[in-house]
């Protein structure tokens, strides 16, 4: 299908992008990789009246190591993350996750900032951001990941606000992200991520609720010396994931426990 008509403008700097969004008066949407937006537009489930194309904002396409932090520009493509030697060295879990997003064609175009701003509970980066206490930096402020993902597809971003960067702590230690899905290129039915950081474990779950989940009960149990098996029993505590075609809520809770345990076992 063909999207509804829209006004198109192209930004080459963050300032210009924000200005164009502002002039769009709340109706303009950001066009980055387009891999969430364009399919919705083709189905006419989204009909923005204006798009601001930020693919020319080269200042947002970078990966930088700085003071124990990995800074990833919002326009960085998944494929760039996968290939980045810096990411592989300092936050290999991010590279691993980037390599599991969609398929090679999606990874060529899709951007880190796009996935974060879209705030789909099946997205993978949001889970990593929440479990590692990452910060999302916009053109005007810094937002802790735990405050950024408010609900399904809902963030505190203003209509004219642009995600510019995500800042992760470096974490070269043991890690694993296990994505359970029917076909290899599908979104996760449930995914579990684990990362050793500062002597403890961080544990996150994807698609187990309207926002990414940090499994603090599992983290706490591990801190008290529980085995992966014992600790992961708490992975679904307090969760009430939705049921859909692929999984009942109960099955999702079960997968959360199984995948958490396996991720911990495989990471160690």
């Amino acid at each position: 299908m063909i999207p509804a008509a829209f006004e198109y403008s192209r930004a080459t700097s963050v300032a210009e992008a924000v200005d164009l969004l502002r002039r769009g008066g709340g109706e303009a949407k950001v066009l980055a990789g387009g891999h969430s937006l364009i399919p919705l537009m083709r189905l006419r489930l989204a009909q923005p009246t204006a798009l601001v194309d930020i693919n020319g904002v080269k200042e947002l396409d970078y990966i930088r190591m700085e003071e124990g932090r990995v800074r990833v520009g919002a326009l960085t493509r998944h494929a760039t993350v996968v290939r980045s030697a810096e990411v592989r060295r300092h936050l290999p879990l991010l590279a691993e996750i980037a390599g599991e997003v969609g398929d090679p064609q999606v990874r060529s175009r899709g951007t880190v900032g796009g996935v974060l701003a879209h705030a789909d509970s099946a997205g993978d980066y949001p889970t990593l951001a929440v479990m590692l206490d990452a910060e999302i930096v916009t053109d005007r402020r810094r937002i802790a990941a735990r405050d950024f993902f408010q609900h399904l597809f809902t963030t505190p971003l203003a209509p004219d606000e642009l995600v510019c960067e995500v800042v992760f702590p470096a974490a070269p230690g043991p890690h694993r992200y296990l994505k359970f899905r029917r076909r290899l290129f599908d979104w996760a039915i449930v995914a579990a991520g684990v990362q050793q950081l500062d002597g403890g474990w961080r544990v996150g779950l994807t698609n187990c609720g309207p926002t990414p989940v940090r499994a603090t009960a599992v983290e706490a149990a591990l801190a008290q010396g529980a085995t992966p098996s014992a600790a992961s029993a708490a992975a679904a505590d307090g969760l009430n994931p939705s049921s859909d075609l692929r999984a009942s809520s109960e099955y999702r809770r079960h997968l959360a426990r199984v995948l958490t345990r396996r991720a911990l076992e495989q990471a160690a």
Partner: protein, 169 residues
């Protein structure tokens, strides 16, 4: 309102004016007349529309033509060497019966081109990962996997594209 668009398609520079909502695949098919790139779905799953944008595999149904400003696009029509003959992947798909109806084939060829550019000697698992964004309904993928293996071997051996193609066994 049409916007100007300047890009290179299969080595030829072009200047056009296009509507913002024109998808790259429709630009290639309807403006450039390159109908080898196909549309098989609405939601970026099937991969029949795969082309190379600056060498990277892209689903051209999930990119507006205007986003290709300044880019080098390669479609299946641009895969074979300019002097004639076939690309080793095309030869291998033909020899290994890697296609039946042929509708998905251009997308597979382009995705496989990108895969082999990055990984000249992929394992079967890596071939699967490299082509996970492409659906085929006829072949069961068995011969596509064989064809990519065969093409990779031929390319590693420095196969020149065949000067002429021969039908016959």
């Amino acid at each position: 309102m049409p916007h100007p668009l300047t890009l290179t398609v299969n080595g030829t520079g072009r200047e056009d004016a296009v509507e913002p909502r024109l998808l790259l695949v429709h630009y290639l098919r309807e403006v450039c007349g390159l109908t080898g790139t196909h549309v098989g779905c609405d939601t970026s799953q099937c991969g029949a529309c795969t082309v190379l944008v600056d060498g990277a595999p892209v689903k051209s149904c999930t990119m507006f033509a205007l986003q290709a400003e300044g880019c080098r696009i390669t479609t299946v029509e641009g895969l074979a060497p300019a002097g004639g003959g076939l690309h080793p992947l095309q030869t291998a798909f033909w020899e290994q019966h890697g296609l039946q109806c042929g509708f998905c084939t251009p997308g597979f060829l382009m995705a496989a081109t990108a895969l082999l550019a990055e990984n000249p000697d992929p394992t079967d698992e890596e071939i699967g990962r490299g082509l996970e964004g492409n659906l085929c309904r006829c072949t069961g993928y068995v011969n596509i996997r064989r064809a990519v293996r065969a093409a990779a071997a031929a390319m590693r051996a420095g196969a020149e594209p065949a000067a002429t193609a021969v039908v016959g066994g």
